[in-house]
Subunit: 336 residues, 2 copies
Amino acid sequence: MMDALLRDVELSPFTGASCVVTGGLGFIGSNMSRALAAAGAAVTVVDAGVPQHGGDPRHLVDAAGPIDVVTADIADDAVARPVAGADFVFNIAGQVSHLASMEDPLRDLDLNARANLAFLETIRRVNPGVAIVHTSTRQVYGRPRYLPVDEAHPTEPVDVNGISKLAAEQAHLIYARTYGMRASVLRLTNVFGPRQRLRGDDSGFLPSFIRRALLDEPITLYGDGSQSRDCLYVDDVIAALAAAALCPDAPGEVFNLGNPDDLSLAEIARRLVSRCGTGSVVTVPWPPERARIDIGNYRGDASKAKAVLGWVPEVTFDDGLAATIAYYRQHLAWYV
Amino acid sequence: MMDALLRDVELSPFTGASCVVTGGLGFIGSNMSRALAAAGAAVTVVDAGVPQHGGDPRHLVDAAGPIDVVTADIADDAVARPVAGADFVFNIAGQVSHLASMEDPLRDLDLNARANLAFLETIRRVNPGVAIVHTSTRQVYGRPRYLPVDEAHPTEPVDVNGISKLAAEQAHLIYARTYGMRASVLRLTNVFGPRQRLRGDDSGFLPSFIRRALLDEPITLYGDGSQSRDCLYVDDVIAALAAAALCPDAPGEVFNLGNPDDLSLAEIARRLVSRCGTGSVVTVPWPPERARIDIGNYRGDASKAKAVLGWVPEVTFDDGLAATIAYYRQHLAWYV
């Protein structure tokens, strides 16, 4: 498996460095772990191995360098040892299902908010000087009051997952500001790419659309599919994670990772079906239970990430889509 | 013990109604419970009886009507029975110590965020149509970016207690918007009055100032004490709780309870010492650990509560102070 990225990312500062990646068997975590290993970092993945969260040991197969895996929840004491020797912690673990968070809200709070608070307490105890980058989500904003959404936009989660993720990111910021810990937060928009969990329809629209196109099934759009979203290819997220970990001005700060090139859901589905040559698009009226938690159009303002981290998204939707489809065509049985 | 309020509050709609008051042995909860009992409501208090949270069975002594007490955390199954038969739930329970939340962040998250989520799940199961009013705090805003602070001001907690309280209030709003539950949220500013816990210096400045004045001890101001705060006498909060419970437009909404008559900490201390005839005021440089979590000046904008609930604060600081001091003079041994 070649791990060439679709964009330039400055990873040489991580050569020889000790990096912990939580959620490193999952989508973004495994891609980050592989990129770091390819750059010559000593990578330790911490992952609870919850299948519904997208973790899969096969995500690390044929990585360009060795990757240690510690099977543990970030709330466990077992994380103390790898964290104690780390130069960088990429804290990506989390439950991302919005529907699951409403079906079992206490579990969502435990997995996201409580576990991250426990993890921060562990880091504060064993390695308070380590650089930490935590991935949050644009879901914390809720229904946008204006576009593009900048970091000063009010946060108003529309589901329990949004509450838990907001609590987790705020904990990172408070630990940075109160204890001088070097933690920063990235609020991701819709990310896609290889190694994303495609099963189920409860982890965002992109994996669901991709699975249906690949399996030659219809992609269902609610209403006319005109709601717009900004999408990010995972290599752009890797670039932001690296930049935030290295930037001396990042700790205590939160950064939107958005993309000015937003697309309607209908256009995303159309391009996906066109590129796959399989699948189709159907429109249905809004189911009431989905309409209640929909947020309308969304586009994030990433000016702060550009100004402070020097980060801009570089991978076009079409280039990302081509690489994504090629990957899943090769490994489809793992994902459907 | 006479329970006459220092302002008019329309409580007749609660006559004969079944009311659950969580945290009903504590400061605001016990005052609300007594007011409801005096109005002829059937009141059931749910209180975990954690002494550090200010709960004290003596707070209900000589109430004007009978009050049942269920000793339970709001996360316990034991709350299902009283909640099932309730017409109104005043959900006031919570841990309020900012310093304790930093010393034991997981406990704070459990007591505030997790317990409220469990409580909402119980209500959804046994009595989803009940009116619920939840008390949150202006602490969720963090350091004000502008004054007065309205409900659209960004939320940026400065400690774990702020995270937990924000999660709890967002859960109420999400349950209202998603399931049609009749839950509303009040963000309180600094409240004072009878039956507030005075021990310790970790539950806000007012109880600490009041205790020191009563015990003829010096009140310590950081810096020059020029930071301003808006204070609310507890009877004004009772009026808002009642109004929110009865207002058909309150569910799913959050309301600031602020006071346009803000005062500097130095002026508050001066008036307190003057009225008590005991105590003194000293100024010291800011301790770094306090400066880090201080929020500067604060004044809340309660225009929305006025427009929607018809609520305005009516009790002057001096009238509230006189009643407060008279109460503590009578019961000082319970509080110091």
